[in-house]
Amino acid sequence: MPDWLAEATEQLTDVVGDQAAEWDLAGLLPVETLRTLGKQGLLCAEVPVEHGGIGARSADNGAFTAHVGSLCSSLRSVMTSQGMAAWTVQRLGDARQRREFLPRLTGGELTAVAFSEPGAGSDVTAMTTEIRRDGDAVVIDGGKTWTTAARYADLIVVFGRYGDGGGAVVVPADTPGVTIRPVPAPSGCRAAGHADVTLDSVRLPLGAVLGGGGQPLPLLVTTALAYGRMSVAWGCVGILRACLSAAGAHASGRRQFGLPLAEHQLVGRHLAELLAAEQVATRVCEHASRCWDDRSPEMVIATVLAKYVSSTEAARGAAAAVQVLASAGAQDGHVVARAYRDAKLMELIEGSTEICQIILARHAAAQASRREPA
């Protein structure tokens, strides 16, 4: 384990302490804490050292993400957004934009990435947000929904239509015409700062469009989401670890009918399934991270697989943990109650379970298809 990871793991355990329940109930994270972690580069640890980052490998950042996910999925969601913004700048931006924005993302500024719209969720081609060139500037009009971390963000990476293709623009949250309205009561990751973002004639210099824009929108979104999916997948490993630990402790400590709960076979089965889920999710994430670190083309499918397996296992595992703890865990703020709500949300975002299944099914069919002249 690299030094940064050992130190950061210990630090996060201290920083979160026993406050995750309180943050969940209040629907708010302490912004100064986010800025402190941001300045240390911990919210987007894979940013290269030359841009002020830690330069973490995917596997190490994954282990860190799982740790944060085991403590607080809202904080982990903020990390996912910041990391996805950084990755988007890295991939879609030009050299000047990487030099300008990445040090800000590792310097304490907070970031969100805005994809979804009222009429464009899974179908990104239905996006109506428009980026229009006007001389040396661009003007952006549109409305984004459910933008994670937008409530805390200093910068928002906004995706939209641009010319014949798409574009991603780095929008300072205080630009005239930008309105951010927090989602009143999200069902999961309640403190992650989900917000709706309205852009009304938002004017920015041309240099705010990453890589000049005009690339195909689905390719832009697929590129950005790849990081988000990896981060969500590892976060779900954390959810499973928290559930396994809570259910294991409760089932071995509490006695009913003269025996520890764990000795009752129907309860024991929940523990066995939770253990298997945590291991399966960990291994599938480790494999995907290895593909990232090796820069293998398999990373594309391995990432979707990891997100799919890890989030569905987490949703099932969290339900089992609530079942084992019963009334002991059935109150808002409790670790398994949070896990239950947070894990379900993870099946919806960054490519729903069904979208992941469609991608995996197409991949399976393509791999098995017979070779014919095209």
Binding site: L92, V300, V304
Partner: protein, 89 residues
């Protein structure tokens, strides 16, 4: 036949595309119009080209036109191999 460096690049790209699409592909075939390639596979192609040829395909080079045919990808790789690596993220 004169097998120069460019032809080797082209051959390697063609092998990857044919292996992944399970189809025989002409070097000037439009992969997107023929439905052989979607955005997931486009990303695999990008990662493959980066890894196989030690280049970084970033920003404005992510245009579909650069990946439309095996020939276009070959030109992209040739151009990026000549550029200094300072542009690496």
């Amino acid at each position: 036949m004169n097998i120069g460096a460019e032809e080797t690049v082209q051959r390697r790209i063609l092998e990857f595309v044919e292996e992944r699409t399970k189809a025989d592909v002409a070097v000037d075939k439009d992969l997107f119009d023929s439905g052989l390639v979607n955005s997931m596979f486009a990303m695999e192609l990008i990662v493959h080209l980066e890894q196989a040829f030690g280049i970084a395909i970033l920003g404005e080079d992510l245009r579909l036109d650069n990946f439309r045919t095996v020939e276009r990808m070959t030109s992209l790789v040739d151009r990026l191999r000549e550029e200094p690596v300072a542009g690496h993220a």
